[in-house]
């Protein structure tokens, strides 16, 4: 296990390094000049040059990159070019918001989708299976800005049951915050349910058709025990992988949902930083999201081991 973790850490470090290089140099291709964007199109060129010098953006790219990455590993994320405040403050708030929404969405969609997938598999080719798979797929292809607006119109405006934005007033209770997060979380449920349910269905069908399941039945084990002890443990392996990869999306990719519901999460932060060529903010936010993604996949891998002893023993060997 120790070797496994060390190996994963090494791979994660290389991945994050490559990510930081790609994002930094890729952002240089974006049109516009940093100081010009801050001062506006009507500013004097001398003022633009002075601000570029002040921000250090007139230095060679490699120098800029090295300064930034070495500060990052010292825990100094620098100040935002656009907002003039520590990047860590902006990221801290945004990350907390994203984690809250991601957690709420996961708590709803994961059990629901797993249940749906298992039922669809158990009732394979019957009406309930069709409803779950086709219905889920149909919902998954609806863009989130469409489903989000429909939810806002129905529950926020017409029925006046839920708030139309996601950010609860400061000091709100836990349940009030959940109320504000419900509509964006439901939008995510609509988006992710079909995908996770189909993967679960496929994994469950594979497990149901496997030799060990037939053997378990032939041994005389009750259906419930077979499902719980043999089928589910194996069918959930691909589902775990899918859920882990969705974590990165939920933490750093919800630009549309965060914009629609005016929610100050990581997705909007990264998008704004890229638009404004705010390199310290962009780089740090992307790396933090990347770290989150890698942690989620590590947890997924560890869960694999727990659920599947063959993987655990292979690693031990």
């Amino acid at each position: 296990m120790g070797r496994f973790l060390l190996k994963r850490l090494g791979l994660a470090t290389i991945t994050l390094f490559l990510l930081s290089v790609i994002v930094f140099f890729g952002a240089q291709v974006l049109p516009g000049n940093v100081a010009r964007r801050i001062l506006g199109p009507f500013a004097d060129q001398a003022a633009v040059d002075a601000l570029n010098k002040n921000l250090g953006t007139d230095r060679p790219l490699l120098t800029q990159y090295w300064d930034w990455i070495s500060s990052f590993f010292r825990g100094d994320f620098g100040d935002s070019f656009s907002y003039g405040v520590p990047v860590s403050d902006l990221i801290g708030d945004a990350l907390l918001h994203s984690l809250k929404l991601a957690a709420f969405a996961f708590v709803m969609v994961v059990p629901l989708a797993i249940l749906g997938g298992v039922i669809a598999a158990l009732k394979r080719d019957r009406l309930i299976d069709r409803v779950i798979t086709i219905g889920g797929l149909s919902l998954a292809v609806v863009p989130e800005f469409v489903s989000g607006i429909i939810l806002i119109l129905v529950f926020g405006l017409w029925l006046d049951l839920l708030p139309v934005s996601a950010n609860a007033p400061e000091g709100s209770s836990f349940f009030t915050q959940l109320k504000y997060l419900l509509l964006p979380a439901l939008t995510l449920v609509i988006l992710l349910f079909g995908y996770i349910a189909r993967i679960t269905r496929a994994g469950t069908i594979e497990s149901l058709d496997a030799d060990y399941t037939r053997t378990a039945y032939l041994k005389g084990l009750p259906r419930q025990v077979v499902l719980r002890r043999h089928v589910l443990r194996n069918s959930l392996l691909p589902t775990i992988a899918v859920v882990a990869t969705q974590t990165g999306f939920l933490v750093g990719g919800l630009v549309v949902i965060e914009t629609l519901f005016n929610y100050p999460g990581m997705g909007k932060l990264i998008f704004t930083a890229a638009s404004q060529k705010d390199f310290p903010l962009l780089e740090s936010a992307v790396l933090i999201s990347g770290i989150g993604f890698l942690c989620a996949t590590l947890v997924a891998d560890l869960s694999y081991s727990l659920l599947n002893p063959r993987i655990r023993y292979a690693r031990a060997e």
């Binding site: 001062l39 199109p41 907002y83 139309v164 934005s165």
Partner: protein, 567 residues
Amino acid sequence: MDETQRRVDEVRRERSEVENHLIDEYGAGKISRREFVRRGTVVGMSIPLLGFLAAACGGSDGETGGTTTGAEPTGDLKKGGTVRVALIQPTTAPNPLLVQDEGGAGILGATGEFLSFSDDKLELQPRIAESWEPNEDGSVWTFKIRQGVKFHDGTPLTANDVVTTFDKLINPDGGSANAQSALGGVLSPGNIEAPDDASVVFNLDAPNGNFPTLVSSANYNAIIIPADLDPGDWGKTFQGTGPFKLEKFTPKVGLTVVRNDDYWGPKPNVDKLDIKFYDEEAPMILALQGDEVDFVEHFSVSGGKALLGDDNVQVIAVKAATHRELHMRTDKEPFTDKRVRQAIALSIDRQALVDGLWEGQADIGNDSPFGPLYPSTDTSVPQREQDIDQAKQLLADAGKGDGFTVQLDTWNGFEIPDLAQLVKNYAEQIGVTINLKITDGATYYGDGVFGKSTWLDSVMGITDYGHRPVPNVYLTAPLSGDPKIGVWNSAHFKNDTYDGLVRDYVAALDLDSQRGVAKQIEELLLDETPIIFPYFYYFLAAAKPSLKGAVSAATGQFDLSKAGFTA
């Protein structure tokens, strides 16, 4: 002698030549009451005085400009409460020197205060300055600073704070680019002085009849800050003298301000403004409809159609000078011949653009910066209308009867792509093929200097211009042949007669003179047509019906100090 006339004569004896000339114009019926009051505030006359003179001296009551609908206070307003405001996301740190966007202007004005406030009627309401007056030729303006005003931390405001504020703004090394776009060529560093604690004197580079507007809230960076405060640190305390003061600011989320009980003027009705930042317009509109905000600072016609027809929403429409400029390079083919430029202008159906793009919430333009809302606009100049036959004839006369192909560059903001497509369609009717190249704003504006900017280098382009309460900047920067002044001259227009007329206009102190020169400028630009001004669109804000007294200025600022909820 009748008592009223005696009082008028007494008042006039104490007025300057400029003010008396304005009174004469009004008395002779040359300007409407609205124009008299508006111009009167600019030259430094108080509203009560203007009201008295307007009643005493008669004159026409013709309406020009002003608010079409408003959130005027009616009936009793409740004391207290919180107004929830939706404001577009500021794009920079809250630094009075750096702000150059609507969201930033909104937060500067939330706690900051100006020498005067340019309201929705283009009238200047005294704030930190109690009054102002020019010398004989308008080259020196003296502002009387209100006494007893304090910053939010209790420090008294002095004339020196006003001087240092403007010194910082116009400092060529690190000042405000936006403020300098208004004051460049008008006021140079080192020419502002405070002879005493109650006065500030601006010694201008040249006579300027509209100077007070250029240092009002219309120049949204010009909030007065303490002399010893670094503008870069302003965002820590939002130090100002306004009716509201900072409670909390969270970058990218919002700003909360509370009533300033030590304010020098009438205290606000409400206790608090809770200003939330929105990255996009749609969530702002949904928030208003979902009763999560009470006031939306700005919405567009295309995005806010649902609000325009909603009986549960007050639409506050302010006539504004916000417009688009379709430039044609006068120094490059195919537009070197003015007949070609005129032909393009004649191909456009402006009313259709106003009806289609703005649902009527705009005024048609006449190819000059003189929009209908300006009192100095001469409306006797014939309005250019679509005339396809004449356009084709002009092209034939210019040797381009077979048509030609040209590229139009612009960016994908607001309704601009739709306007570009419509211009292309209109041009096809006269045999001109326009190829559209639409990029993002950063690409279009580039570095904002000649040689490094599609905006300034393209043969044909569409550029957006924000509202200015006086047309001075529009007359100079985009059209002046002087390279030091015409820094936005995308049409590369060079005309000495025009430059001379603009100097005359800027120097003119009275409305009659301004209008006389404006007529000549309008006619010259109609003839030369370096730029097509298709329309001037209204600035739209929205409020819940229960919120009264909200004032929206077309610069994106709002004044909620007199707002309140109906009882």
